[in-house]
């Protein structure tokens, strides 16, 4: 489903954020992307969302080589990848309903289908009763769940999340991660960047570890973790 081959990313400033990254994520897998701050997790996810382009190497998503996607085709690609951010990126002048409906409006879904799909998505994240609320009236955890509802409403086959629990307390974090797990169980391929090792171990999914822009073996990652702790 997601295939990286010898991917390098060097930013204009000269930083090599990713170096020779290769891995493969199967359809329907759930993978955690870990590594210390600055390891290149966000960069890797940005390459997947076509926010950044690799300097070298090849990325294939769902059979599509991202290198072959021209600017005008990016919107159609992005509709098939749900993205969740640490800071939610909700629009604060719009209701929860309007925020969650936005991907459907962008995709040109018939308007009579929109309300029930928004309700279903909000029900999925346990916020069915907050449709009319403004994002500022919600707690951080609730805002994050609105962001998740927005990311999944157009039923993308892939979901990527960049430190989605970074601002949440452990209980809320676990709830959000369980939500990802449930989405994964309905067939969505999920890639979550996080450095919350306790949480990752509790969920027991495959882990992809980055250090200084390189994929490191799980045992090395264990050492790094031990060394840091």
């Amino acid at each position: 489903m997601i295939q990286f081959s010898e991917v390098n990313k060097r930013y204009a400033g000269g930083n090599e954020a990713l170096a020779g990254v290769s891995f493969n994520i199967e359809h329907g897998e759930m993978v955690f992307l870990t590594g210390p701050s600055g390891a290149g997790k966000s960069t890797l996810l940005k390459l997947l969302a076509l926010i950044e382009r690799p300097s070298r190497g090849q990325i294939v998503v769902n059979g599509q080589n991202l290198g072959g996607i021209r600017r005008g085709q990016i919107p159609h690609y992005r509709r098939k990848v749900g993205v969740i951010f640490q800071d939610h990126k909700l629009l604060h002048d719009r209701s929860v309903f309007d925020n969650v409906a936005l991907p459907l409006i962008i995709a040109g879904v018939a308007h009579q289908d929109i309300p029930k799909r928004v309700s279903a998505a909000l029900e999925l994240v346990g916020l069915a009763h907050k449709e009319r609320a403004l994002p500022v009236m919600l707690s951080t955890g609730e805002q994050q769940r609105v962001g998740i509802a927005r990311a999944v409403i157009s039923r993308p086959p892939i979901l990527i999340a960049d430190e989605p629990t970074g601002n949440l307390d452990p209980d809320l974090s676990f709830e959000v991660m369980q939500l990802f797990r449930r989405l994964n169980q309905v067939g969505i391929t999920v890639l979550v960047a996080s450095h919350d090792h306790t949480l990752i171990r509790r969920l027991g999914q495959r882990v992809l570890s980055l250090r200084a822009g390189r994929v490191v073996a799980p045992e090395l990652q264990g050492d790094a973790h031990a060394g840091r702790a």
């Binding site: 509709r79 040109g108 879904v109 309905v186 067939g187």
Partner: protein
């Protein structure tokens, strides 16, 4: 969980959305953006009013001046109908020769009527009007010529035709000089043509100003909605989708500015109607200022909408591409 079973069916339904449903959704988005654009104007009434005033003034200046120029042109057009050709005849023409000449001139196709003013009638008239009567009588014999005053037939009242008729008449051996009061009208017309052209050039410059004003306003709007644009792009919005609200917003500015300009022109004409009617009455004329008319009003509104649209297009083309999610 229920969503699991739902997934496949929903995906299939999404792809099975008919072209008609998609088009309906597309049209709906246009309608919503049209309404949203108006909503945005209302949300900041003072700022909007100021921008609209500036656009209105910029459009009212050329529109109003064009109305005045076309009024002046139509006035000078009606004056042409009253054009006179005066034939000043050579001295010492006998009264019978004078009548003969007048009869001959009456046979010209371009001549509607001929009024004969004999030398002594000229003198009497001059004495009566000038107050130099006594001085003239000292001269002994009458220095004034006889005059034929000719009113051209309707088809000969245009400056060019009247000019030709005058030349033809001037070729008669008894005629000393042709005086045409149409000359100044031609000059006036030429000046009005220049004025008209100048107003059009100014209108173009002011139209450019409107484009820049709207462009700048929309640029600020784009800046204010940066997050929304970034998020929309991340969620797969096309450039056209992101452009749409801004284009409608700009078109609304244009329309509001056009209506403002229309009202300003109307107001200015109302203020001028009284003095103009007074001036016309001094000339014994029934002349009334005409306004923009239906055609002029529509032209004003359509072009103001187009300018607003163009202005936002310029802003959008320059700035939307630069906003990419990071």
């Amino acid at each position: 969980m229920p969503a699991a079973r739902d997934d496949g069916a929903r995906g299939a339904r999404l792809s099975r959305q008919t072209l008609r449903q998609r088009f309906a959704a597309y049209l709906l988005h246009h309608r919503q953006m049209l309404a949203a654009g108006f909503g945005r104007l209302r949300r900041h009434p003072l700022a909007t009013l100021m921008t609209v005033m500036v656009i209105g003034i910029a459009l009212a200046l050329p529109a109003g001046t064009l109305v005045l120029v076309s009024n002046a042109k139509s006035v000078s057009g009606t004056w042409q109908g009253a054009a006179r050709i005066s034939l000043f005849l050579k001295q010492n023409l006998s009264d019978s020769a004078l009548q003969q000449l007048a009869d001959r001139v009456r046979t010209y196709a371009g001549v509607a009527s001929v009024k004969v003013i004999t030398a002594s009638q000229s003198l009497a008239e001059f004495q009566q009007h000038s107050g130099f009567g006594d001085t003239l009588s000292l001269l002994g014999n009458n220095p004034l010529p006889a005059v034929l005053v000719i009113r051209p037939a309707n088809a000969y009242t245009t400056p060019l035709a009247a000019q030709q008729l005058g030349q033809e008449l001037g070729a008669l051996p008894q005629v000393a000089e042709v005086r045409m009061d149409i000359q100044w009208l031609r000059r006036l017309q030429a000046m009005l043509d220049i004025l008209h052209r100048a107003v059009l050039i100014i209108a173009l410059l002011l139209a450019l100003a409107v484009v820049l004003i709207v462009g700048n306003t929309i640029r600020l709007e784009i800046e204010n909605r940066r997050t929304e644009i970034e998020v929309s792009k991340l969620l797969g919005a096309t450039d056209a989708f992101i452009r749409r609200p801004f284009l409608y917003h700009g078109a609304w500015y244009g329309l509001a500015g056009g209506v403002m300009a229309w009202m300003l022109v109307l107001f200015a004409l109302l203020l001028m109607a009284g003095p103009v009617a007074h001036l016309a009455s001094l000339y014994g004329s029934q002349f009334h200022l005409s306004g923009l008319g239906l055609k002029g009003s529509l032209t004003l509104l359509v072009s103001s909408i187009a300018l607003g649209w163009l202005g936002s297009w310029v802003a959008v083309a320059r700035h939307l591409r630069a906003i990419e999610p990071t």
